[in-house]
Symmetry: D2
Subunit: 373 residues, 4 copies
């Protein structure tokens, strides 16, 4: 048990007490009227948070990787061409994933801390006809944020299904799925959505659903196949129970609570809060002579920060010192740079207290390493 | 919220308060020492509950269907021959699932309430060389229990990978995986394991792991691929964190609590308790002129009961009456017989009070339908 | 921890999960707007449950005995004459308590299982001028229920302050404080009010408040003095915080949840439920050849039962057997009869399942003692 | 519900999640073996936290004021002389309280923010023979800490029963009851003991118990009388249940958890942590040009701080601004100075994050009032 330590990693995060209480409540039947309402409400509220009124929402037991897998399994047929825009670990993962379903994958890679330029993307789209394109809105490994709007527009222009991996962004960063032409936006519960890990969440556009309906080959993954899930989501949204796999009753009840809190705050306010706190955090971090991995403010995520250690700091001593503090941060994730940086999540229920506590814990740890008071 | 109503469906079930409290505790990092210990303990305790000391346990975010999918995805290569022994809904599901991975599936079906005889199974195994054979230990749709021991022995004799679908049996029915020669035994958290839904659980024998290692083709399902999961399970069991997908921290913490309670009771005692209470339930049910779907005691599950309505009872009136009682039961699941029977789960933390409460609620409902006092 | 055992003692009882969740929620400030609302709502709802619209409600940290003490401390001055109508342990306690504050106490005692007749009470009131009269609505030691209505009427007729000890009755038995002329009705949270132990609750009539205001001597008990508590209750009811002692924030939040559930059910329905279940319980108990302590149905409480062991049963063997069952019952409380009877609480959230579970546990225990199957 | 706001008032405080979980667990019987163990353990652990191995501990449902009342009710007989050393609101309260029980009270008052000098106390003790002397270890209204050691020594020298009001100190400040000759040390659960409000706690020395045993008059307060409570505490400490009032089962279970955590940390470490964090807090507060109410460091409490507003700050604007922040602080309590200062609690589970969060919230609020960025 973490006790009162502050969990400032890029997921799971600090959850609202109301969410945890819903999680720990006695489990009801997945066909009970109350639960049907919870599930239906959650599906409807997701479309508001995603800003995709005409989309189809899905809630499944699984991790964020399962949500990624839903796109590969349902939208890729053997031989399909796919373009992966990779800004880190999770772009590479998406490329590997799509290949499993027979995709012919092209990757556009940026250096760590950078993004792929729009002209490079457009060039690729011009040269070749892709069925599907993926990008990582916020890469959890680098803290780099990609602006989804122009990519969605390119997707529309070149008629490519555009998949936004929003595991570390949805409900934390600005994202207007329908307006921006995103065909599928996926996430996991334990990030800015604010629910303990265990739910894969996504909203698919009508165009994405059509692409799936028009497949010529069966979906090669049983659990992920929308054939099983679509009638379930439709039923619960219409207030009827239906069965494919037993839904994660407690997690869905917790999701409903969190989505209500998100909509009560309002997505504009929520994004503004994430921006203001992230900016404050980055400023304070830079004052301590750390360097952010993202090369400029415009591509810095507001949900997490990836921070290079300065030369003067021994990484493992620093992480050891932090482990003794009241604040939990995460190590690097990119294999080649793992020991050169660390990561701090600041999303969901994050507030000013969390930011200053984290800064103070970092300062203290450095002072202890330097034998300062 | 279900309040104090008693949840007597074949999962989710009534959970121990300690399990729900672990679920609702503040989420820690998936790399925190406490959580690493919880995960490792759970993997180790599973092997004790499954009675498979040399097996490899897996814990993944997902429903029971995902656990079924793990076998199909990892053990089947296109063209493999598979034998499905079907005693209901979930046998049919397994056949469909295996086909997705290219299996050439033969099905041996029983009538509802019956099992497939061992001679029929052995004949099939003699006639054809199968790579893999599945059977449903307890079919949640029919309440039929299949004795795993002779099937495991046939599996050994004919060198077939034997997969036990134990979604509705593990931790409730007698199951000695290693001794009986079962190569994979899978379940879901919300059944006799006693944890709210959201975890897919399985233990694979060394032979199953070898079959996977010796595949000639890659696993066609990204999320299910043991390539990703095996190093994670090994790491946590050895006390190190590792990352593929974020584990369901709270559910794993709850799982550890439940497994500890299961082992504290002892599997012998636990199975004996399930048997005694199920027998008591069936006796009382028969006294009310209901008929059990399983045709005899030997093949009646101890974890749930499927019960035919007598002619004198209008099924929908009965279910409506039960909905007003303090006890929640489940409708039929077999599409063709849906309105002819209902189901009662009695597993996990079930005790005598639950049994008598359920019997009383059924009696009362019938009396009300008959306008009796 | 009690796990899933059923708590069927005369308090604490089985609480609604929503109440327990409110109890375990992070504590807020006793001056926070949310808490002020909770406290104010609770005070207002109490007057509805007590049916005393013009009364003054009080909520204090303490046990039911503290609630009894509030009457003695605030309404008795040295030399005052008090009449105690005693139907068991708690009548005797009230007599002793009132003496501490200088009362000149007369007691009218019934035999265990009986009540004091109205004519005896009226005779006493005729012979002497009493300032205050107390009676135990339901005596937790005997399961005897006294009808408050005629006693309230006698109190009015003879101008005596009438104090109803409702520790084991309020929110479970019919009680119309204002209409029936009761001047103070007190209880504890852990009984039919449905909240874990720790709150003393009472509603005082304007006449009771006047009697206190017109005291000639100061209240001799610091903690109980309404001088301290009245402004606090008035402030919270008006939406302002105020301070005497820190209120039990979590218990008050839980109380608000429980009172809402009580009013949502409706007091008429709630009393009817208690009556029907208690009748069912008594019938089943008598079928087993037990004898109830209350000598007839009219004076049998609906919130608990006190049950004599038949000759054929060894009391300590029976209690030992019950301790191994799933149901927790209470031993006798009257010192002189302690080993001759036991007690079962059936109040608050009690439902049919609880009744049949308790009956079944008792039957089983007896059968085991008799070596029956 | 407070959500994730930080509760930094002088009680209730931020509680450890484990404590809240114990509080919300299903209530068991007050005579169940588990509960008997919890109660007994708590009584024993209190003597360790209080450092009074030969003392008698008491746990009762009630607020801190009830704990104060226990001394007055049990140790004072009409006409007894009592000396109250008052450093604020709670000294005045103790004087008033003792008078209720017939004490002849002399008060030694300090100015707000100061203490009464030892020579003044000794002079008073020389001049007159007092039965009992009280002092407030930390006065919650002023943040002034009195050193108990020399007062305990004076108590011994002049043979006076010395009562330490430790509501805001026990388990946060250094206190060695037995060694320092304190005859009764009392507190409330919601302060440094770390349990939601509702329990009055105290440890009495053998000398205090003897004084009560040798009373010539009965205790004039029924609920507080040790005659009722002593056998209960002795029984639970010996592992037997006993009944006077129903104990607050859930709060006692939570108390056991908190006391275990306190002893696991160790009282030396715990006091050192409180000192270090309080010092840090005061330094940062002074840097912002606030002035502490205690006139010097030696008499500054480590559990809370009372802070004067500078002239430049409008108190109600400041409190309004803080109410919008993530941190909850308390207003002044001394009636005459109420609007001139505010109070911050920093005790129990307090850590560095809490301190820096509070400082940041105060800074931000001031900047907003001054229209600074």
């Amino acid at each position: 048990m973490k006790g009162r330590k502050l969990l400032m990693i890029p997921g799971p995060i600090e959850f609202e007490p109301e969410v945890l209480q819903a999680l720990g409540a006695p489990t009801t039947s997945h066909t009970a009227p109350d639960f049907i309402a919870s599930f239906g409400n959650s599906l409807r509220m997701m479309k508001k948070v995603w800003e995709c009124p005409d989309g189809q929402s899905f809630i499944m037991a699984g991790s964020g990787t399962l949500a990624m897998d839903m796109a590969g399994a349902n939208l890729i047929e053997p031989g399909d061409k796919a373009l992966v825009i990779s800004t880190g670990y999770f772009g590479e993962r998406y490329a590997e994933l799509l290949k499993r379903y027979g995709a012919n994958v092209s990757i556009l890679r940026s250096e760590p801390g950078e993004t792929v330029s729009l002209s490079v993307i457009e060039n690729a789209l011009k040269k070749d006809k892709f069925k599907l394109m993926t990008f990582t809105h916020v890469d959890t490994s680098t803290g780099v944020m990609v602006n989804p709007k122009p990519i969605g527009e390119l997707g529309r222009k070149y008629d490519v299904l555009t998949v936004l991996d929003g595991v570390c962004s949805v409900a934390g960063e600005e994202m207007r799925q329908q307006q921006w032409g995103i065909d599928m936006a996926l996430t996991a519960s334990q990030k800015a959505i604010g629910v303990p890990p265990g739910l894969a969440l996504l909203v698919a556009s009508p165009k994405a659903m059509d692409a799936w309906k028009n497949r010529k080959t069966p979906v090669g993954n049983y659990y992920c196949d929308w054939t099983h899930w679509l009638p379930i989501m439709q039923a619960y949204e219409e207030g009827r129970p239906s069965y494919f796999g037993t839904p994660s009753v407690n997690l869905v009840a917790a999701l409903e609570v969190s989505l209500k809190m998100i909509l009560a705050e309002g997505m504009e306010n929520r994004v503004a809060r994430h921006k203001a706190l992230a900016k404050e955090f980055r400023e304070k971090i830079r004052e301590m002579e750390f360097r952010m991995m993202p090369v400029n403010e415009d591509i810095s995520a507001n949900t997490l920060s990836a921070i290079y250690f300065p030369e003067s700091i021994n990484a493992s001593e620093f992480m050891g010192g932090m482990a003794k503090s009241d604040v939990i941060v995460a190590p690097g994730l990119l294999p080649e740079l793992k020991s050169k940086y660390f990561r701090v999540g600041h999303m969901g229920s994050v507030n000013l207290s969390d930011i200053v506590s984290t800064i103070a814990a970092i300062e203290n740890t450095i002072n202890q390493l330097k034998n300062l008071p």
